[in-house]
Every structure is written in structure tokens, then in C-alpha cells.
């Protein structure tokens, strides 16, 4: 119940920028649901407008991923569900072509797409395992030559400012990978 109300909030937030309780009422949430949202500590008021609390974000994320997982598991496997696409484009800035490729390739692999993260979004200091690299033959080859073969463990040691590359430690060396390429490498965060 709460999750769905949160989804409504997110949609409004995206459309309006600033959301007040009145907006939620206008969107069709009854007083009971509004009360529940506030009481659960999921939303807090900052000068009349509403914001997500940390817990709220967490709940939202789990909900989304469960939802996405369901859609993938129960999908007939032919087309990419629209909401999966939306999650990856808005959260991870992955273009549709790359996502389709991820999706196609993952069908035959023992991984769930929601357990994986593009390398570019891995926080600095985390260790991750390379699962899948898509993209041009040249880029994939160059990555493999530098040691980023599938199943390799890498540690993200640095992320550059907006739009910049990441530096990963792989096989005792450090490699800088541009944003475009790093968003086409799917990894599983280990620790």
C-alpha cells in the first residue's frame, strides 16, 4: 500500500518538482493513505513541500526491484518490459540499445538484472565481479586485454566528476575507463 502511494509521490515529484500534501490529495490519495505515508516516517515536510526520507527511498527501491524482477521472471521473454527500461534509463542512464543487449544476453546467464549494476554506478571503494560486457568488438577486446574479462574481480578506486571516467583496480593494475564504456559493463557488487 505504502509503496504504491510512494510511486504516486515520485511521479508527481518528477512532474511538478515540488510536492505538497494538497497535490497528493489532488492526485487521488485519500486522507488515510496520506496519513499512513507521513506516519510511516516515509515523507517529511520541509517548508510545506514533501521529501523522501532515507527509509522511504529504501522501501521504494526494494519495491521497484521486486516489481521489476516479477516482470522479468513472468515475462514471456520476447520483449523488454517498459518499466524495466524506464528504471534503467532514469536511474542508470543506460540507453535503450545497450539495455536490450544486456537483457538478451542475461537470458542465458544465471543472474538477475536487478542484482547487477553498470560499472559506472558502482560507488568508490566497492569490489565487484565483471558479469557482462556489451558494446563494440574493439572496446570489448581492449577491455579483455587490460584484464577485465568476465568473472574478474575489480575494485572501483575512483570516480571522476560528472561525466568523467572511473578508475578500477584489476589484476594489480589501475585502469581508467570512460563513462560510455563503463556503462556497458555489468557487474555484481560483492562487498
Amino acid at each position: 500500500m505504502v509503496q504504491e502511494s510512494l510511486e504516486v509521490f515520485c511521479r508527481l515529484k518528477k512532474a511538478l518538482g515540488k510536492v505538497t500534501l494538497r497535490d497528493l490529495a489532488a492526485a487521488g490519495l485519500d486522507p488515510q493513505k496520506r496519513e499512513l505515508l507521513l506516519k510511516g516516517g516515509l515523507l517529511r515536510e520541509i517548508g510545506g513541500s514533501l521529501e523522501l526520507t532515507e527509509e522511504g527511498e529504501r522501501v521504494l527501491l526494494t519495491h521497484r526491484e521486486d516489481y521489476l524482477h516479477d516482470r522479468i521472471i513472468h515475462n514471456d521473454g520476447s520483449a523488454l518490459p517498459e518499466d524495466v527500461f524506464r528504471h534503467w534509463t532514469s536511474c542508470h542512464h543506460i540507453d535503450r540499445g545497450t539495455l536490450k543487449e544486456f537483457y538478451e544476453r542475461l537470458k542465458s546467464m544465471p543472474y538477475r538484472i536487478e542484482d547487477l549494476t553498470p560499472l559506472i554506478d558502482v560507488p568508490a571503494g566497492k569490489v565487484a565481479e565483471v558479469v557482462l560486457i556489451v558494446g563494440g568488438r574493439n572496446a570489448v577486446n581492449r577491455l579483455c586485454e587490460m584484464g577485465l574479462t568476465p568473472e574478474t574481480t575489480v575494485r572501483v578506486s575512483k570516480r571522476a566528476p560528472v561525466g568523467g571516467p572511473v578508475i578500477v583496480s584489476v589484476r594489480s593494475t589501475e585502469v581508467a575507463i570512460g563513462r560510455g564504456i563503463a556503462s556497458k559493463i555489468l557487474v555484481k557488487i560483492i562487498e
Binding site: 577486446n141 568473472e151 571522476a160 571516467p165 589484476r171 585502469v175 581508467a176 563513462r179 564504456i181
Partner: protein, 657 residues
Amino acid sequence: MQNDYPCSGVPPRIALVGNPNVGKSSIFNQLTGLNQTVGNWPGKTVELAEGTLVFEGTTIRIVDMPGTYSLSSYSEEELVTRDFLLSSAADVIINVVDATALERNLYLTLQLLEMGLPIILAVNFIDAAYHKGISFDFKSLQESLGVTVIPVDASSGQGMTELMGAAMRQLRSKGGGRPARPKYGKEMEYLIADVAKELRAGNVPLPEGYPIEWISLKLIEGDPEVMRRVKLPPDLLARVSEKTSAVESIHGESANVITASERYSLSHRIAERSLKPKVEARNAVSEWASDLLTHRVYGYLVLAAVLGGTFYLIFQAGGIISGAIDSAFSSVIVYLAAALSFLPPMAVNLLLNGVVFGIGAATSIALPYIATFYIALSIFEDTGYLPRAAFLLDSLMHKIGLHGKAFIPLLLGFGCSVPACMGCRIMETRRERLLLGALVVLIPCSARTIVILGVAGAYLGIGYALLIYFIDILLVLAIGRVLFKALPGESVGLIMEMPPVRMFKPVAVLKRTWLKTKDFVFTALPLIVLGSLAVEAASSLGAMDVIVNSFSPVTVGILGLPVATGVALIFGMLRKELALIMLAAYAGTTDFALIMSPAQMFVFTLVMVIYLPCVATLAALIKEYGARRAALIVTMDMLLALAVGAVASQMLSIIRF
């Protein structure tokens, strides 16, 4: 470079192969000293440095191959290295590896072994590895690979005698003791054997000297170059690709990725066996420095300070040395003029104003500006600063369709356009190289900076000089953006190794500076002397006025400049900073305020900075891109200079500057 085999009279040749940043060039310098020449592999723009060394009474040639991570045929460097090694041009191959990153370095070693080449493994940076907490079991490494392993320390020269001793033993054994091919996973091995069997059964003619298993492996990988050389009959090709697809579907990866994984899992096992890691120790200073240099705020501050400081120092120091050299050459000319008075005046003029003046001009820019620039650059290279700057500037470079590494040739361009053109080779694709080549020639090199400072700086004030610099850099970005959109093809992303931050060795820096400066002088000097001779001949025949006047539609008509500036435009093709001296000589005054209004000075400087790169750069462009593309780049620069000059001239007259 010929592919001669070792026989009496021809000294044997040793090739140094290895990843970039493994100290390969340091070993090369240790072995050959300053006895080196740089040559081109026929038809390719990959330079191979060759040097000689006398060891135990035998003269040996040593070739420093370009640093590569792999021997696939995706870049020209890799292809050249592979062809060179397979053509038996080298009698012994020394594979230099970095002890601190053995696993990654062995990837190349395994590929050399696949080719059945007789290699010697030189393990460098043992000390650094020890400090990192790694110690070695060389015996185990030797047994795992089946090749001789020699620990060396390139910076101190330790281990060089042992290395050469091993090479000599290898030479004397004459190809005996070819190492065994590394064995990969079962499926892959079956596949290789299968394809080799097909090749044998089909009686396919194979290029000589290429092991059949290697060719099979390359066919499985779909290596375009081997596919081209080995002409498989269609039915055989179909069978090979069918078998390959079967293995690909088991692994869920392409054959290339499978073989890369196989190599890495083997190199991982070998490294595990031969390394004895102690406690994980870190080099705190190096890591702290690396962290600072790539920091999202401080990194950029350091970058600005480093670049600003370097340019300031170069031009301060350069100005002093350049002045000293200039005055020395002037007194030489005066002295020679008196001593040679018995010759006809025309010959004296040609000799002095052509040859001596040309040499003087070349040294007075090469030594002070180019050499100091190379010192700075070598320090950046050795400390590992360049890749860090490239990392910081990656997003900016993407705006002009290039990636972070493009920053390096652009930086070189501020010193001299010639090495900058050659530096464009670090880009991965032809498209990137061309795009970058068109941009680096627009960067104000040290000679153009002299013009900017000498005219705009001296007469209009430093603010206007900086404004011209700024306009030029904006132009570079704008042109980059336009070319990026106009040239077909996709932009390539950044994949770049970040070597650890290290302290540089002053001796190594000076040695490399000397070699590079020497290289520059030999390329540029003949062109400059010839050019000076031609102009001197023209002026003593009275042709100068005619030529200068023929430029007037451009100089006066389009740009609104005095007729005399035609001289500067002509000389600017030879050497930009020479143009000012020539203009002064032609106009009969060194006070440019007498011949140009402030607005004209501004336009003049702007045009001088943008139009035609000098002769030496033109030669470099032709060498790198061929005559047609070089002509395209030059035409673009000419048109750009005219357009910018005309617009500036109009705008300045409107605002009554």
C-alpha cells in the same frame, strides 16, 4: 629496415617487447646508450627505435618495439609488432614484464609463446614489487613458462649483463629450444586441434613461419589480418565458424572473450604459483599523490598550477637562453662577413643569411623552447602525471569527440606542432587521429607564442596577447566540435592504464630530452636552412618585392594589413617566429608601431597564429596522414585564418579600435 636473417656480416638483432610503462625503453637506453636511430617500419607510421651494442666482442642490434598489451591486429602498433616478430626479423626476443603486475604482463607473454617464439623474460621493478609485499620464485616462473627468466633493474642497469648473456646463449643455440605452446581449457584445445586438422587435411597454403596452431587460434578468434592472409576455401571457413559457434554457445561469450579469459586464467595461475605475497603493503606516498592528482577539486587546481607554472618557466628560461644564442649567432655572422669579404657579396649573403642564419634560428628555438619543453614532458611522463591529467580532462575531450588521451598531443602542441602530429598516434582509430591532427596544428606552439608576445604582447599589452591565445583555443574547441560532427564514425571511449605515481630519474629525463631534441633538429634544420636559402636567393635577385606585392590582394584587400606583412606571411611558412625578424628587416624598422595600427597588429597576430603550419609541421602531417589529407588540413587552416582575420578586421574597424 630489412628482414635480414642472421648470417655472417649482418649483426644479429634482439627485439624488446612488452606492455607500455614496464621500463622497456629504460632497458633499451641502458643497453644502447645514446647510440640510437629512429626508423619507420615500411608503409606504416609506427616508429621503431634501433640501437647497437657490443657485447663480448659481438655487435648486436637492438630494436625497441612499441609498447602493447596484446598481439591482436586491432591497432597498427600491435600488428607491426606481430609481423616483425613472425617475419624472423628478430633473432631473440626479450619480453620485459613489470613485476608489480605480473598477471597482466604475462598476457602478452602467453601470446608470444603461442607464436612459438624464443623469448627471454626480463622481470623489471623487482624492488617496487618487494616494497608492495611481493617476492618471487623465479625458478617456478621459469618452469611454468619454459623460458629463461632474468630479474633486472632498468633504472640502475642491474641485471643487464645477465640479460645479454642469456640472449647470447639463445643466439648461439640458433632457434633450438623453442618453448612449448601454452595449454588452455579443454574445449579450446580440442577446437584448436580440430581446426588445425582441417587446415592440414584441406592442404591450405599457410604463410611461412607461422605455426599452424597459432593460425588455427587466430582463425577461431576471427583475426581479420590472418583471415585475409590465409585464404580458406568457403566450405572450410563454414566448418571453422560452425565449430567456433558451438564453443561460443557453451560459454555464452564470443571466441575472442573466451581466449582472453583462457589466457588470463592461465597467467593468473602462473602468477599465483611464482609470487609469494607477504602482507599487503601499500606505497602510501604514491597512493596519496595519485589520489591528490585525480581529486575532483584539487586535481584540477594542481593541473592548472602545473601547466601554468611549466609554461611560465619555459618561456622565462627559454627567453633568456634564446636571446643568448641569437646574439652569439649575430656576432658570428658579423665576424664571418668580415672574414669572407674576399667572396662575391651574393655568395656571402646566401651563406650568411641563408645557412648560418637558418642554423642560428633553428638552434635558438630548438634548444631553449623545445628542449625545455621536452624536459617538462619527460618529467610528466616518468612520474605518471600524463594519464592522470588525461583522466581529469576526459569529459572535456568528449565534447570534441575525443577522449582523455587526446590531451597529450594537444599539450605537446604548445611546445611544437611536429611532435604533436606524431603524438596523435596514441589515438586508437584513424578517424580520431585525423581529427586530432587537424586540431594540434592550430594550438599555438612556442614559435607562435613568440609572435603573440612580440607583437600583441609588446605593443598592445599582455591582455590582448592573452585574448588572442584565448580566441585560438576557442577555435580549436569549435573546430573540434564541427569536425567531430562532420567526420563519419563513432567516437571511441577511454581505456587507459594508470601507472603508479613514481619519482623521476633526472639522468633518464635528460637523456630522453637529448634524443628527442636531436630528432627535432634533424627533421627541422634542413627544411629551415633550405627555406632561408630560397628566400635569400629571391630577395637578392630582387624577386621579393614582386612576391610580396602579389600577396597584396590578401594582405591589403581582405585583411586590411600593410603590404609589407606579406613578408611575414611568406616567412611564416618556414618558421613563424622568423617572420617577425624578416618583417623588421624588410620594413627597415623593429618598431612595428610605425608600420601598423593597433587594430592591424591584432589582426596580423591572429592570422599569423592560425594560418599554415610551418614547413616542418607540413612534413610531419604528410608523413602521418598522406599528402591528400595534409593538403585538406592545410587548406582548412588557410581559409580559417583568412575568415577569422577578415572578420576581426571588420569588427575592429566598426568599433574603431
